[in-house]
């Protein structure tokens, strides 16, 4: 249980998609002018991440990974299809987004009207593919962990876009230097929020065995740190 909470909190705060990895920045910047639309897109991202990450986990573990095809018989045990993972993941994401769009249109027309244009946009939101690729890289051991990670990152993304939308609504009343208006100041605010979110790093809710996985998970952060480490 502690593991699941750990993964969830990590996804929301410590390894926040926006502030730690800059994933999904394009839609984050484009759709954060009002809180209402931002919250709609955020909810859709939580949902799509929560569905596509476990589906891609199944694909990764039973089709793509080295030896994943061993359930077909001993002669397939050596097959490694992982080079196909990009095209498979994006196909899964595109079709699930299409499916979700059709289902929502059929059963919840009101929600469809509210989300309308954002749903198809999600297929090319990097945070969705990023979620699948991080899942592959971090090698979560059960489908439950993968789902938790997906939903956690989705919530983190939701939090980030709603917060920036709220700030952008208020910033209309401030005197921002003219060339900084709009995009520039949004970048700077996101940077400041990123600094705030960095204060969450290092939190570990226990489960001492976690340290081993930590090393694997922080690939990107390590790259950044590695440079610093060499110099010290």
């Amino acid at each position: 249980m502690v593991d699941y909470i750990n993964i969830l909190l990590k996804g929301v705060f410590i390894e926040n998609m926006i502030f730690a990895y800059f994933l999904g920045m394009c839609s984050y910047l484009a759709v954060s002018k009002t809180v209402k639309t931002a919250a709609g897109l955020g909810a859709a991202v939580i949902f799509v991440l929560g569905v596509t990450v476990p589906v891609n986990w199944l694909l990764e573990n039973y089709v793509l990974k080295e030896g994943a095809l061993s359930w077909l018989g001993a002669e397939y045990a050596e097959v490694d299809l992982s080079f196909l993972s990009f095209i498979m993941f994006i196909a899964v994401i595109a079709s699930i987004v299409q499916l979700v769009e059709m289902l929502v249109e059929k059963f919840a027309p009101a929600l469809y009207g509210a989300l309308g244009i954002f749903l198809p946009l999600i297929a090319v939101n990097c945070s969705i593919l990023g979620g699948a690729l991080f899942m592959q890289e971090r090698q979560y051991s059960t489908i439950g962990e993968a789902t938790t990670f997906g939903i956690g990152s989705g919530i983190g993304w939701f939090l980030a876009i709603v917060a920036i939308a709220a700030i952008r609504e208020k910033i209309k009343y401030s005197k921002v230097p003219a060339p900084m208006r709009g995009l520039g100041i949004t970048f700077v605010i996101t940077g400041l929020m990123g600094i705030a979110f960095m204060s969450f790093s290092g939190i570990n809710l226990g489960g001492g065995e976690d340290e081993d996985t930590d090393v694997k998970t922080d690939q990107v952060t390590n790259v950044i740190d590695a440079d610093t480490d060499q110099n010290d």
Binding site: M25, F86, I90, G182, T190
Partner: protein, 224 residues
């Protein structure tokens, strides 16, 4: 009296075609004006080398993809065009990924998931939708060159700032003397600012670039 004049064959580098290359460099920059492809522009700008490898990869995918999509533009049914485009991009990115893994394994490790994320880089889908679907292969190719250059300029600028002030190096050549023996600037007491290597500074750096660009060209200023 309207005579139908057969349009003369356009020279390869006509004024219109040259504009395709020069416009995305400043007035229509994909990163700072169109707000596309931000994720990778921010995440892999820790060193200039990374930025250059990423720009080269994006150029390969965008140029080939633009030409391919442009050649197929009359064959693609508009309802499934997104999926066709995604398949083209994904196949090209797989090629890039395998090449990087084979020839630059260290670099592939450092770029980690961001090579895969070229697939969802909005510049590529954006150019396919906005340009390649409506234009011939040669202008599409030039358009790819222009947009990659515009993207690369921002990437290189940000990474130069970050590498010099964050790590005190450029292309892995130390600039300010020896940190451990304390020579050069380090002797005076200069310290590398490790904050600049961290993620949030990339956002500030792009913000500053946007500031400078819009201060120079007042037409680009937004309302809010």
């Amino acid at each position: 009296m309207s005579e139908k004049v057969k349009a003369p064959r356009e020279p390869l580098f006509s004024k219109k075609n040259k504009r395709l290359i020069t416009e995305p460099l400043d007035d229509n920059n994909p990163v700072t004006i169109q707000v596309l492809g931000i994720c990778s522009a921010l995440a892999i700008t820790v060193s200039v080398k990374q930025a250059l490898v990423m720009t080269a990869s994006v150029f390969f995918v965008l140029a080939l993809g633009n030409v391919i999509i442009s050649m197929m533009r009359n064959l693609i049914p508009s309802r499934i065009r997104i999926i066709v485009q995604l398949v083209v991009v994904a196949s090209l990115v797989i090629i890039v990924n395998e090449i990087l893994k084979a020839f630059l394994p260290d670099m592939a490790e450092q770029l980690s998931v961001f090579v895969g994320l070229i697939i969802t880089n909005c510049i590529i889908m954006g150019r396919f939708e906005a340009f390649a679907m409506a234009n011939k292969p040669w202008p599409s190719f030039l358009d790819a060159i222009g947009n990659t250059l515009g993207y690369g300029i921002v990437l290189v600028l940000v990474s130069i700032i970050r590498e010099i002030f964050g790590a005190g190096k450029i292309f892995d050549i130390p600039l300010f003397g020896d940190r451990i023996e304390k020579t050069g600037l380090y002797k005076i007491g200069y310290l590398d600012n490790n904050f600049i290597i961290l993620a949030p500074f990339a956002l500030f750096a792009v913000g500053i670039i946007i500031w400078v660009q819009r201060a120079r060209n007042k037409a680009l200023i937004e309302d809010h």
